[in-house]
């Protein structure tokens, strides 16, 4: 009992700290990759704090959706971070079914739903552009996401990820699923090579275009949401990989997974430093690759039981 309590406390602690740490690591590494010293290590956290102090400017065209979006986003993301087993420690309400795969996917969809509507709410061309691209991306990634994770948790016979991801799984399945999941995560998180988070050219934006109208506190909330989501996705990918390669025990070790998340962040930063953004028209085939990996994983999981 006390073990569980300690695990949950650790999980909450990691949920609070790991995302910001990851953001700092990525920012610093990227700067180093570009050959410049970059801002202080904790700059992302400082930015958040600064923005939270500022009041925001809201377009007169907008309705309640625009104002509600950051709140919904942050609330649902934190909830997901709390219930998903992405840190290696025990998530809250483990095994109660709240981390149901389908529920998770649709909560993510709800976050995206609000984000897209908020983008359309501003009535600007960029908002619409970002919104329609986000919608197209989500269509592309959802099947792979669901198939991949379902295949990974097939042997545990439950859709509850807090159990499914921590139970034994065939290495092949886990690695295929993890690869599929990572690619899907890149698009879900709007990272390179799908989307460039730091671009200043509106016509190439995806995620940035949807939040173009946000400022001050609400922007801070959104940025924090993005950080948590990034960490969470890397965490799940890390859990999958570690579980596949070293077994469930390693996958439930916070130390290993935490290191894995940071390592993934480092890897991403290096990758973003050397890769170029894909032509929007070639994105579908890139994401289809993820779906194909997921289907292969499902094939292996289904056939070799």
């Amino acid at each position: 009992m006390s073990n569980v309590l300690i695990g949950v406390a650790l999980h909450c602690l990691l949920v609070a700290s790991l995302p910001i740490l990851l953001a700092c690591v990525i920012r610093k590494t990227k700067a180093r990759m570009q050959g410049r010293p970059g801002p202080p290590f904790l700059q992302p956290a400082l930015d958040l704090a600064k923005r939270l102090k500022k009041s925001d400017t809201v377009s007169e065209t907008t309705s309640w959706v625009f104002r509600a979006n950051p709140l919904v986003g942050v609330a649902l993301t934190v909830w997901l971070a709390l219930v998903l087993p992405w840190t290696g420690a025990t998530p809250i309400l483990r095994g109660s079914g709240v981390a149901d795969l389908i529920l998770i996917v649709y909560l993510l969809a709800a976050i995206r739903f609000f984000a897209i509507l908020a983008a359309l709410d501003t009535g600007s061309a960029f908002g619409g552009l970002g919104a329609s691209r986000e919608a197209a991306l989500s269509v592309l990634i959802e099947p792979g996401l669901v198939i991949g994770l379902a295949a990974a948790s097939l042997s545990s016979r439950t859709l509850d990820l807090s159990i499914g991801l921590g139970s034994p799984v065939r290495p092949t399945v886990a690695i295929l699923s993890a690869a599929a999941f990572l690619i899907a995560a890149l698009s879900e998180l709007s990272r390179m090579p799908i989307d460039d988070t730091t671009t200043h050219l509106e016509l190439t934006m995806v995620h940035e275009a949807t939040i173009l109208e946000y400022s001050g506190r609400r922007l801070a909330l959104i940025e924090w949401t993005v950080m948590i989501r990034t960490a969470m996705f890397f965490g799940i990918a890390a859990v999958l990989l570690v579980n596949g390669m070293f077994g469930p025990d390693a996958a439930t070790n916070p130390l290993i997974i935490g290191t894995g998340v940071i390592a993934a962040g480092l890897f991403l930063a290096v990758f973003e430093g050397v890769s170029v953004k894909l032509n929007w028209r070639r994105v579908p085939s890139f994401v289809a690759f993820s779906t194909a990996l997921a289907v292969m994983s499902a094939f292996v999981a289904a056939v070799e039981r």
Binding site: T57, E60, S63, V78, A109, A110, G123, A135, S138
Partner: protein, 655 residues
């Protein structure tokens, strides 16, 4: 023989049907009344339906044989399945009855309200007759009445050519469908010698042909691919409350038929499950892909009905297939999914159609590229429509999610417990397929809500729109509340299904909805409290949307319905030969056109390659036959006679 019932709820059910009969007569008699007694009678009937659905006990009702066809009695049966669908009819009926008077106000001068009321009353009564029918004859009689009343309702605004065309396409489709159904029923009757559904037990090869005929009949009514063409034509043509009933409830009667005969009945042919699975998969994606293309809001909703019917068929397919492989849990879950999703779809789809009706009535257009910014002008409608959209996108924890979750779960159960690898793989792939459908649905309804309600108005009408009449708003809000309530109450609904012994596994629902809602809600409240605490000192500044410094943004710079769907549509462009023709005019046309226009082209293969040629062929056959045979020459006529004589002599064995 007098009325005999084996349930004490028989009189109530007959009273409910009688109410609709009264409403029909009243509506015909007082063609100008908008609500009055007609509406009251219909409303009472619907309330009685819901009451019966919740409390009635099982049993049969046999009426004196007013119309006895070939020795068949007029018998109705109340059992769990009928109660479930009667409840759906009543639940949609009540808000539609509340909504209708306000809507009819907008159609004043164009239609006679009383006639719409009586048409609706017949439709409700006939749908109830379909789901209550104890034998095939009563079923068919109600089915035909349903078809004709809905045809008349589609033709309400018959002054418009497009409406007339739609009505007749609908009539033709539904008639052909019923021909198949009747043929199948007769065949089944010939095999078993009984008209009662419960006596129809046959398996194996003898079941193949009757099952195929019956299935085609049901699929045509349900609007499944490839029989769906009438649906997006007929539903938008009808007045919105009627579309709500047709899309929300009427096409579900076909699902009822499938559940009654195939899922719960004994009309088993081994391939039925696979066919349902295949057609369900195709319909789901096909319907929503075409929905994404639409600019007309009601057409979009109609195509989305095709998609949802696809999901229902898919679930039915899972149910049958997994049962044939002995996976009890999966078939149980899938059956629950069919029933629950049928209820959910009828609620949110009628909500959305009513919303579209309000938009049509208040902004005078359904063309999404002429709408926009309605959220501020019609806040209540916007709120209700938002709930409907969120629900149809299956956002947790609304009712749309609850139904789809059951489908996912049944597919997953197939995935881990099927006896063979192929089947397990199919289960997993189905998960992805449903997810794909879900993603497309989300895009489609993001477009519907985002383009119509958000941003700036794209036309004068949209900018001058006003909130709908109170009755209409109340109806929509009631449905929105039902969406939320059913979503939260999903575990109870499952228990209800188990108590009605429609599903056998009381623990089938294992998703802690309340915990999620509670946790998410607490976090949301916390975030809101935090933000409003911060905002107490610094209020947000209201300013215009960023215009890149070029001055006020025109509404034309916004994304339109077409452009929103474009990235996705282009992904699947090969499926419907999607092309955009951009035409520039002006001197140096290529670089500096003075005007630019873009035209979107797509082609529905089913229509252009299958149905049109078939209809054209039929016309040509008729033309040819009639021109050749009735050419006006008496010599030729006499020759026919001699040829016929020779033929008859030969066939008769004389020469």
């Amino acid at each position: 023989m007098s009325t005999s019932t084996t349930t004490e709820w028989g009189p109530a059910m007959i009273l409910a049907l009688g109410m609709f009969a009264v409403a029909t007569v009243l509506g015909l008699a007082k063609a100008r009344s908008r609500f009055g007694l007609v509406g009251f009678a219909s409303l009472t009937g619907c309330v009685l339906f819901v009451t019966c659905a919740i409390f009635a006990t099982n049993g049969r009702i046999v009426l004196p044989p007013l119309i006895g066809l070939a020795g068949v009695e007029v018998a109705f049966r109340i059992d769990s399945l009928s109660r479930w669908f009667i409840g759906i009819i009543g639940l949609v009926g009540i808000p539609v009855c509340i909504y209708l008077p306000g809507y009819l106000d907008h159609l004043r001068g164009r239609v006679r309200p009383g006639l719409v009321w009586s048409g609706l009353a017949v439709l409700f009564g006939a749908m109830a007759g379909v789901v209550l029918a104890d034998n095939a004859v009563v079923f068919i009689a109600s089915w035909e009445m349903m078809a004709i009343s809905s045809f008349l309702l589609v033709a309400t605004e018959h002054q418009k050519l497009s409406v007339r065309r739609a009505a007749f396409i609908y009539l033709g489709a539904t008639r052909i469908g019923s021909a198949f159904l009747i043929a199948g029923f007769i065949w089944a009757h010939a095999l078993t010698g009984s008209w009662r559904f419960e006596d129809w037990t046959f398996q194996g090869t003898s079941a193949t042909l009757p099952a195929a005929l019956i299935l085609v009949g049901f699929l045509a009514k349900a609007g499944s691919w490839p029989f769906h063409l009438w649906l997006p034509i007929a539903h938008p043509a009808a007045p919105s409350p009627v579309s709500a009933v047709m899309s929300g409830v009427m096409i579900k009667t076909a699902i009822y038929g499938i559940v009654r005969l195939f899922l719960l009945g004994h009309l088993g042919a081994p391939w039925v499950g696979w066919i349902l699975l295949f057609l369900g998969c195709v319909s789901a994606v096909w319907g929503i892909l075409f929905g994404l293309l639409q600019q007309d809001l009601k057409r979009l909703l109609a195509y989305s009905s095709v998609e949802n019917i696809g999901l229902l068929l898919l679930a039915s397919g899972i149910c049958l297939v997994s049962r044939s492989y002995g996976i009890a849990l999966a078939s149980d879950l899938a059956l629950g999914a069919v029933l629950f999703h049928a209820l959910n779809h009828s609620i949110f789809k009628s909500l959305l159609f009513l919303g579209a009706g309000s938009i049509d009535a208040c902004a005078h257009t359904r063309d999404m590229d002429r709408l926009g910014g309605l959220a501020r002008r019609m806040p209540w409608t916007a709120a209700a429509f938002f709930v409907g959209c969120a629900s149809i996108c299956a956002l947790a924890p609304l009712n749309g999610f609850a139904g789809e979750w059951l489908i996912y779960r049944s597919a997953f159960v197939v995935g881990y417990s099927a006896p063979s690898g192929e089947l397990r793989l199919i289960g997993l792939i189905l998960l992805g397929w449903v997810a794909l459908t879900g993603g497309l649905t989300a895009a489609c309804f993001l477009k519907a809500y985002g383009i119509v309600f958000l941003g700036n108005g794209r036309s004068g009408e949209a900018r001058k729109a006003h909130e709908a009449a109170p009755g209409m708003v109340i109806a929509m809000c009631a449905l929105a509340c039902a969406c939320i309530g059913l979503g939260f109450g999903a575990p109870f609904v499952w228990q209800g299904l188990a108590r009605m012994s429609l599903v056998s596994n009381p623990g089938g629902w294992n998703l802690p909805v309340f915990t999620t809602v509670l946790g998410g809600g607490i976090l949301l409240a916390a975030a809101w409290a935090f933000l409003s605490r911060l905002e107490r000192t610094h209020r947000p500044t209201v300013y215009s949307t960023w215009d890149c410094g070029f001055g006020p943004l025109s509404a034309r710079t916004q994304y339109s319905a077409t452009s929103f769907g474009q990235p996705i549509v282009r992904l699947f462009g090969k499926l419907y030969r999607y092309e955009i023709d951009v035409v520039g005019k002006g001197e140096s046309q290529h670089n500096f056109p003075t005007t630019l226009s873009a035209e979107l082209k797509h082609e529905s293969y089913l229509e252009s390659r299958v149905y049109s040629p078939a209809i054209k062929g039929m016309l040509r056959l008729s033309e040819g036959l009639i021109m050749r045979l009735q050419a006006g020459s008496i010599h030729q006529y006499l020759l026919f006679m001699i040829v016929t004589l020779a033929l008859l002599l030969w066939l008769g064995g004389v020469i």
